[in-house]
């Protein structure tokens, strides 16, 4: 993987640009090739202070990946999102996940579930997670989308719902039904019911086929 393929998430006007460059450089010195990440099961990854150790004993800095993920989310705060349109955020997040697979998801999950990130950005992140065609991270993305239904923010719950709708996986029906029972906003509850109907029907046969 070459440097120019890395999502350009650091603004050139950022006062931390020098640090950022070092982070990126260091990241690539330590990063595993994408193909190797795809063979690592996130559930077996062990955390050891700043690094994630794989069974191959090769490591990548969890802190550096985390910095990368945080930058993607922080820089997105000023973006204007529009339904149906790509954004720098959606491109950067997609590239990050495809490039670093399970390790990327490990860094994204705490950001998304922290309830401290910007709700508009997190909502957008869920849409990206639903749209992404990437078999390696499918289960983690499905899990995270389901967790998003528990967010305190209605906007985030809706983003999660939209991601699940695009993913079109009937495995999401039980968590969606539970979310419907919890949901206090009638408009959002109605949209959830609509998605459940879609997933239960699935007569259209145009599902993402689990991104295979």
């Amino acid at each position: 993987m070459s440097l120019h393929n890395l999502p350009n998430v650091f603004s050139p006007t950022d006062s931390n640009v020098a640090t950022s460059d070092l982070l990126i450089e260091s990241l690539f010195k330590k990063a595993l090739p994408v193909t190797q990440y795809q063979n690592i099961d996130a559930r077996t990854v062990n955390y050891n202070e700043a690094s994630i150790e794989s069974s191959t004993t090769e490591s990548v800095s969890a802190n550096l990946l985390s910095a990368q993920a945080n930058s993607i989310f922080i820089n997105a705060k000023e973006e204007v999102f529009e339904d149906g349109m790509e954004s720098n955020f959606s491109r950067n997040l997609s590239k990050f996940i495809v490039s670093f697979g399970h390790s990327a998801m490990e860094t994204i999950i705490p950001i998304v579930l922290s309830e401290r990130a910007n709700t508009e950005v997190v909502s957008e992140a869920f849409r990206v997670l639903g749209r992404l065609v990437h078999a390696t991270t499918y289960r983690e993305r499905l899990w995270l989308l389901e967790r998003g239904l528990y967010s305190a923010s209605a906007r985030v719950r809706d983003g999660s719902l939209l991601g699940l709708e695009i993913l079109n996986d009937s495995l999401a029906i039980p968590p969606l039904k539970a979310a419907i029972n919890r949901e206090r906003i009638p408009e959002l509850r109605q949209d959830m019911e609509q998605v459940v109907s879609q997933l239960e029907g699935n007569k259209d046969d145009v599902s993402a086929k689990k991104n295979s």
Binding site: D83, A154, I166, E187, L188, Q194
Partner: protein
């Protein structure tokens, strides 16, 4: 009576969402993002009373973006515009469906105060709805079947989205 349609993000307009910092009668600022003016103008589409042209408008809006997506929109009585004191002029739209373009108008000479009043009126009186991406896909397929626009005008960049459409079209008689 005719109605106006404005594409929005539904989750910015929940009427029943409890927001503890918001005073009674106030509107949170984010919905204004759906009313972003250019040269103090705002684009709207005319929907007839029985909404018989609604799906056609949505389909045309849906193919004018990069990805197959759900479509959220607000529909409100055209009278709101005159009540707020906003002017409206006929203006050709820029969507793939030429007929839909004729249903387009621009609201113009919109001041910040009028924009906020319009947002409040929409929040109070408009019907805020969503068409799921699957519904949208069907609407697009209907428009293609009816030759409302040419397939080449679809702006979707994802082959996955186009494949979904082709599969749906192939399954139709």
């Amino acid at each position: 009576m005719t109605f106006l349609l404005r594409k929005i993000r539904k989750n910015r307009w929940y009427k029943t969402e409890p927001i503890d910092w918001l005073l009674d009668g106030e509107l949170q600022a984010d919905p204004l993002g759906d009313l972003a003016t250019k040269s103090n103008e705002l684009s709207v589409y005319h929907v007839v009373a029985d909404e018989s042209n609604l799906d056609r408008i949505i389909a045309s809006l849906a193919v004018n973006v990069e990805q197959l997506s759900h479509v959220d929109f607000a529909i409100f009585d055209e009278k709101i515009i005159s009540d707020v004191g906003i002017k409206m002029k006929e203006s050709e739209g820029d969507l793939p469906d030429e007929q839909v373009n004729k249903w387009h108008s621009d609201l113009y000479e919109i001041s910040a105060v009028k924009l906020l009043t319009l947002a409040k009126e929409i929040n109070d009186k408009a019907k805020i709805e969503r068409r799921s991406f699957m519904q949208v896909l069907n609407m697009v397929a209907n428009s293609l079947n009816n030759n409302y626009f040419d397939r080449s005008r679809i702006k979707w960049t994802s082959q996955t989205d186009l494949d979904k459409l082709d599969k749906l079209l192939a399954g139709r008689p």
